[in-house]
Symmetry: C2
Subunit: 544 residues, 2 copies
């Protein structure tokens, strides 16, 4: 999912085992029913919030197929509820399956290493006992990245890294920190704050995802332009593989051969377990400015965004919402598109850049929003345009609302891609048309297929789609799988990537296999065999 | 070598077979002697400019060990002079060996493919005939990247890509172009100019290096900050390997697994032959401004540069010359350091950014230079500060002067690295002290060891060293190899990279093998074996 500036949450709240985020943040039954009423073909009443104890009983989750050795026993649990909560990520498919009491394969064990050596010891043991190891950070994968499929392994161990969550060193002079992979977003920012520094990587999942997960999936942050992908902030990494532990040097840059870090970035747990990284940090921004610009013509708005991406202005936020997306998020209700612009800087005022960006958008027919929001954010920076505030609030609430719709029997999911500018307009039209048609044919009801641009580049953009459709009673996730296959065909036809920042996981394997060059697949398989000769690391992801 | 804005040269000039660049640009004997007189312990008269015909006679370069098949014969030559000119790159080691008539192994054949299929056919044939293939672009390697060492192969083919030098497609809307790998810098810029676009990648070797060489070695361009490495400008690449041809999709970004392009970037011909790439382009800059700032205290200057690198100012040029380097280039003669600053933009004036950068430098004790240079460059952009102009002229002339000094029997070479800010000051001091001491001990004469920062980052910098030392009569390149080993030990002690942008080649293998994590080496070897099972591709580079 794409990102914006989040607020950290108190630590006493309980995570939902079946749905997104905090258990207490999910919409109540009445709100679910109200949302469902807006989407033809959904249920009259929401499916009940599932109790994990029912699942444990219903599936008879019992003794694991393997037992850890005494030396590692203190790191490992076979508690059924804990195992059930580690069985899947947080995609629509996962939520829908949890609601129906039909999760993926339940791991036999959950391990919580406290140190790098624990990870190495656990891999050693697992390799000798036919046990697959699925690395698990915040568990927010929306592409089947943290579940085990099939039965090729005797047992499955979910390797939960969140016990390794400390900022170990801070280099204030060089603005970098050594951070353990299991640190959740709010955790690591809280530890950096006393140093006046910030990683400033805010994916939508910020509260519920870890540094290690960001690195393993090449996460995209909240910056809409420029260096936003986590890759660019890596100074060095440590990765435990069954063939040994890899530690790259702390370097601002190097031209010594292909980048070692770039092989492990995006490796999704298939080549090794990332345990820590030196990350490049920034000063906290002291100046912010934001505005919303409305467009009657979506294609004119696309041209405005392209011009902005090719300018020197470097907006931190440059999100274009199509009419459906603008209405859904409350940013506009007049059938127009809305461009949400934001600038930030630690060093100097950004109002001039915002003004020039708005002027550029106006030259493409954009109408700057007249509303003004709060004069100041809580952190003292200037407040937002009302449309910007509406969009941000809706943005962080969106995954919870998705789960509410799923409880109404709806299909509610997002997917994203990236393509060069020459393909973007037709690609967006084709996804909307073809996925909408497939949903109508399958359900007899019109589906909602909205689009926003989350990240923009001088040479292209990342369209992000939201699909809301009536489900088919009792067919589980087959309808979504069908719609996703239609979407995948469109992406392939336009040579648009199967994922811009949601990762490949297991759900995107067909598209990924079509996209990657075959010689690279050969090289990756060979690397996998060299580093993980017993094939225990996140089997089915990327290779194998 | 690092970069600045070059001028393209007329096409009728002749390339030097033994030294840098154009044959007619080398200093005359009298200039060589004058330079030598400044460096104690050098020869009284320059070594003669070598004639390739003497080399051919002296080495009895005769029939190649293999003959190409009739179908490929039109692409291949066994001409001895052509082969001799492809035997080495342009490092000090290469020039010194050429002057002494002792080049590396002469390739048996030189092939000039005209199309990607030619490359595939040549690799197929070579693989079946025990023939090593050494990809060759502009031949400007300074790390032994284009020579064959040893005798493990029956024959050696130098694969000269410069016949494939066309810009094949231009996407003006998305600012990208599909460019063949053999295009030299001036060639590709000339083809882009009618479209109003530029790659704007100007390594010091710009005139004598190719896109394919830049990609294979992860070249650094003239931008001192921000996105300067060629990697960041790659949209997609095609690479011919013995196991098949790899073609990545044109994408502005993707999060689908580890980046395929990043495996081939920096692969130095060991994994495949890069044949073309879609490259991200820019508009030509319309606004430029530059200035020089002097510092009495080099360490204060380092802090100024760090502050600049951590600011929002993004100078295009931010080169810090230490006192020796400033004197050598004519930028200063008062024993101080000089910071050369430059800004450029296609969209808006940059004088304000320059003024703020100068002010920031002044806050660290810098004194802005009072001289002003030409009011306008030939391209209409504003002129330079005189110190900036002096530096730029000296910069492009430097490699020719190096060769002049080598003719005087001197050791004259550069090497570069990168390290985090906390290590930069002590690292620079240690290199100067220890390499200087080693040269004094070996030759009895004081050597010159200068330093400049070529590229700077928020978290570190790339120091670039120039070593000028008296040679030892008739010992070939052993003295330099000894000095380079001393330098390598210092770099390793400070965990500074063995190369920031000169590549690994064969000369940097010891340092590279120490630097790269062993699991990554395992993965790279496995990838090499999968893509090049017969081990014909640039043997000895990176792996094998």
């Amino acid at each position: 999912m794409d990102g914006t500036t989040p607020r950290s949450a108190p630590r006493t709240r309980t995570r939902s085992w079946w749905g997104w985020g905090w258990a207490d943040a999910h919409p109540a039954d009445a709100e679910c029913a109200a949302m469902g009423a807006l989407l033809p073909g959904t249920l009259a009443r929401p499916l009940p919030v599932p109790d994990v104890r029912d699942l444990v009983r219903g599936l008879r989750i019992g003794a694991p197929a393997v037992e850890p050795p005494p030396a590692l026993a203190h790191l490992v649990t076979a508690d059924p509820a804990d195992r059930a909560a580690h069985a899947m990520g947080k995609a629509y498919r996962d939520v829908a399956r949890a609601l129906r009491g039909q999760p993926g394969r339940i791991p036999d064990l959950v391990a919580r290493p406290a140190a790098e050596q624990d990870v190495a010891d656990l891999l050693d043991w697992a390799g000798g006992h036919g046990t697959a190891v699925v690395p698990y950070g915040g568990g927010s994968s929306v592409t089947g990245g943290v579940e085990y499929r099939g039965d090729a392994h005797r047992a499955v161990l979910s390797l939960d890294l969140t016990g390794m969550r400390r900022v170990l060193e801070v280099d204030t002079e060089g603005r970098a920190a050594r951070i353990q992979a299991g640190a959740l977003g709010p955790d690591l920012e809280a530890q950096l704050r006393p140093h006046g520094l910030t990683l400033r990587h805010f994916p939508q999942s910020f509260e519920f995802s870890t540094l290690g997960g960001w690195l393993a999936t090449r996460a995209g942050g909240h910056y809409a332009t420029g260096r936003t992908r986590i890759d660019d902030f890596v100074q060095s990494m440590r990765v435990v593989t069954p063939a040994g532990t890899s530690g790259s040097w702390r370097l601002p840059a190097s031209g010594a051969g292909p980048s070692p870090d770039r092989l492990f970035l995006g490796s999704e747990g298939a080549l090794g377990v990332i345990t820590e990284a030196w990350m490049r940090l920034q000063e906290r921004p002291r100046h912010k400015a934001s505005a919303a610009v409305s467009f009657t013509d979506f294609h004119a708005a696309l041209r405005a965004v392209r011009d902005l991406a090719q300018s020197d202005l470097s907006p931190a936020n440059c999100r274009l919402l199509d009419p459906g997306e603008a209405a859904l998020s409350g940013a506009a209700h007049d059938g127009g598109s809305v461009l949400v612009l934001g600038f930030e800087s630690a060093h100097e005022p950004v109002d001039g850049r915002l003004a020039r960006a708005v002027e550029l958008a106006r030259s493409h027919g954009g109408r700057p929003g007249g509303n003004t929001g709060p004069e100041r954010h809580a952190d003292g920076t200037p407040g937002d345009d009302a449309a910007v505030g509406a969009w941000r609030a809706a943005f962080l609430r969106m995954p919870y609302l998705r789960d509410g719709l799923v409880r109404m029997g709806a299909v509610a999911e997002t997917f994203e891609t990236a393509a060069t500018w020459d393909r973007v307009p037709a690609l967006i039209d084709a996804v909307r048309t073809e996925v909408g048609a497939a949903a109508l044919k399958a359900t007899g009801h019109h589906a909602t297929v909205n689009c926003r641009l989350t990240h923009v580049y001088p040479d292209g953009a990342a369209p992000y789609f939201t699909v809301l459709a009536a489900g088919r009673p009792d067919d589980g996730v087959a309808l979504w799988d069908d719609l996703k296959a239609v979407a995948g065909e469109v992406l392939h036809r336009y040579r648009a990537t199967i994922t811009h920042h949601h990762a490949v996981g297991r759900d995107h394997r067909p598209g990924y296999d079509l996209q990657r060059p075959e010689p690279f697949a050969l090289a990756l398989r060979a690397a996998k065999d060299a580093l993980d000769p017993r094939g225990i690391l996140n089997p089915g992801v990327l290779v194998g």
